[in-house]
Subunit: 349 residues, 2 copies
DNA sequence: GTGAAAGCGCTAACAA
DNA sequence: TTGTTAGCGCTTTCAC
């Protein structure tokens, strides 16, 4: 909380513009709000008065009566019970994932004149976030949540705050969401390995308490089952670079025959490539590697990463569109939009 | 702009809580605002009433009278006249720079209960951003601006909106800012090359219309001048990965004898390493490379990047502190806080 | 087509 | 210590 701002040179009010123009407050208000029933001549006069006084409407006053704020929150949720080496804030803001989501959402929001408040919500902050949303700071919420048992989506649902999820919710919920066909993506990776004639596929999967982690693992396994693999080694990572490195090392130590590695996101793949290098494995000759995301990390790898592309920017843009629709029509049916993944073939597999 | 939200189940007002508790509005207000002059017994009653009714204060109403919003904007400014391959939004949100700044700022802002609105401001959006700020949406602004001729800082100054800059302004301005000793950083790189016995240093510098670009180049040149280098080849890049790759290629083609390369940020260094690899140069054997930032990119490189560390998170945190100070005391003297860079030695030099 | 007036939910003088 | 009251600046009926 900050101290009150001192009086200072306050900007003009509607009242003052009205006086300047010699009309009533209502007329100025109508001109500002583009109401068409204003005499063109008066409108002209008022517009000049606005220009002359340098008037801008006061947001709080307007918001108080209209109950709109023209801004939405981007909530990055993380439930309790996860352990990470890196602190929450640097971890999420260093991950290219969030950047792509932000860019995609703003691509839609900006032209609509809607602003974005970014709200990290680790477990201790959940209550504050809910409070914030209840205070009417924003018209709606984009929720980035991956943990299957994350309570936040349900709570937001209960609050009747318009909201859209970044992925299929862990439990069914009457809330719009966007997702990618996770299993299909994983299958693409599996098929790539089969096509390359690899015999010992394995995977650094995502955290098994996330839907993406579960789905990608299941998709990979079931696609390989079709080719006779009743079982596939898997070691979970935490979607961070260091986590991927660690998991790959564990995996390759336990299963040194591994010649194909599916890593559940590009950031972990970066770490996995490092581990492989340290272990004296060549990529792709000894071990073929496929990542997931098609983020900047994929290009940073040597060799560059073959990966499953999910169009995060477009997905976030769609989230924003779904949210706007929901804000405009809160009782509409929740919608889901599922995107198709594609394999992007580069040097690693 | 969005349509008005329908009435729906409005949350309780102060009035209703007061009625429930059998006290006046003011008393409830005092309890909410932690005013100490409330009888403990009454306070207890009121708190129960708040609990029972599920009351939360309406932000707009409060903001209208207090003239505070408890939120600040993070404006990422970019003046007209720059050409980039990538669109503005994906470029800035994909750059680890912004992520580190955001994380650092939130580290200070969050505990204070202050929220962050993220506002990209390319040239066409400048007017809207100024308008937004004048409307009183936020209490202050953190400005990320690098272009020496960027008009935005001056305009914000004129608006009397509390603001803090991410770097020394292009022209002197009565505004607080944070910076790193750019020239010292560049000198560290130069000295590293001298220590390694390199004879043909060169630099992929930053855009010459940015203070950082200018300072790092000047610092590198003047440090080398001390060692007899009257002139040093330099090729400007645009601080992007692709730009660094292009610039390094140009430089190495024109000056194939180059055996030491200072690259003005890590993102460009990543690209430069790629270019060197393509040109058949080994790093560090044939060409030693030093970057600037110590971002995640530095770790993604092979070999890992020796780089000049600037503590961006701490710098952003300091920006936030300076801003809070300014909001609380708008007439205070503008302050500058300059951080010390350090060289982080890794594999590339 | 325009103006007068009520009121959005809150804080902060001021009185009691 | 508590209550009464007057706005904060705007939109929005409702008369005219």
């Amino acid at each position: 909380m900050v101290a009150p701002r001192p009086p200072g040179p306050r900007s003009p009010t509607l009242e003052q513009v009205a006086e300047y123009a010699g009309v009533s407050r209502s007329t100025v208000s109508r001109v500002i709000n583009q109401v068409s029933t204003v005499d063109p001549e008066l409108r002209e006069i008022v517009e000049r008065a606005i220009e002359a006084t340098g008037y801008v409407p006061n947001h709080a006053a307007r918001s108080l009566v209209t109950r709109r704020t023209d801004s939405v929150a981007l909530v990055v949720s993380e439930p309790a019970g996860r352990e990470f080496a890196e602190p929450f804030l640097s971890r999420i803001f260093t991950d290219p994932y969030l950047g792509r989501i932000t860019a995609g959402a703003l691509e839609v929001l900006r032209p609509e004149g809607i602003h974005l408040v970014i709200m990290p919500a680790d477990a201790p902050a959940h209550q504050q976030v809910l409070r914030y949303l209840r205070q009417g700071h924003v018209d709606g919420v984009l929720i980035i949540s991956s943990h299957v048992a994350d309570p936040l989506p349900q709570q937001l649902c209960d609050l009747h705050v318009p909201a859209v999820l970044s992925a299929r919710p862990g439990r069914p919920l009457p809330m719009s969401y966007v997702d990618v066909e996770q299993q299909t993506g994983a299958r693409l990776a599996a098929e790539r390995f089969i096509a390359l004639g690899r015999k010992h596929p394995a995977t650094v999967c995502g955290p098994l308490d996330t839907t993406a982690g579960q789905d990608r693992l299941a998709g990979f396994r079931s696609a390989l089952a079709v080719h006779g693999y009743a079982w596939v080694p898997a070691e979970p990572g935490d979607f961070t670079r260091a986590g991927g490195e660690r998991a790959a090392r564990t995996l390759l130590t336990a299963y040194p025959e591994t010649d194909a590695l599916f890593v559940a996101n590009d950031l972990m793949a970066e770490g996995a490539m490092q581990a492989l290098r340290d272990l004296g494995r060549r990529v792709p000759e000894d071990v073929a590697v496929v990542g997931f995301d098609d983020s900047v990390s994929a290009l940073a790898c040597r060799p560059q990463l073959t990966t499953i592309r999910q169009p995060l920017e477009e997905m976030a843009a769609e989230m924003a569109r779904l949210l706007l629709a929901r804000i405009r029509e809160p009782e509409g049916r929740p919608r889901s939009v599922i995107f198709h993944p594609e394999i992007v073939e580069r040097g690693s597999a």
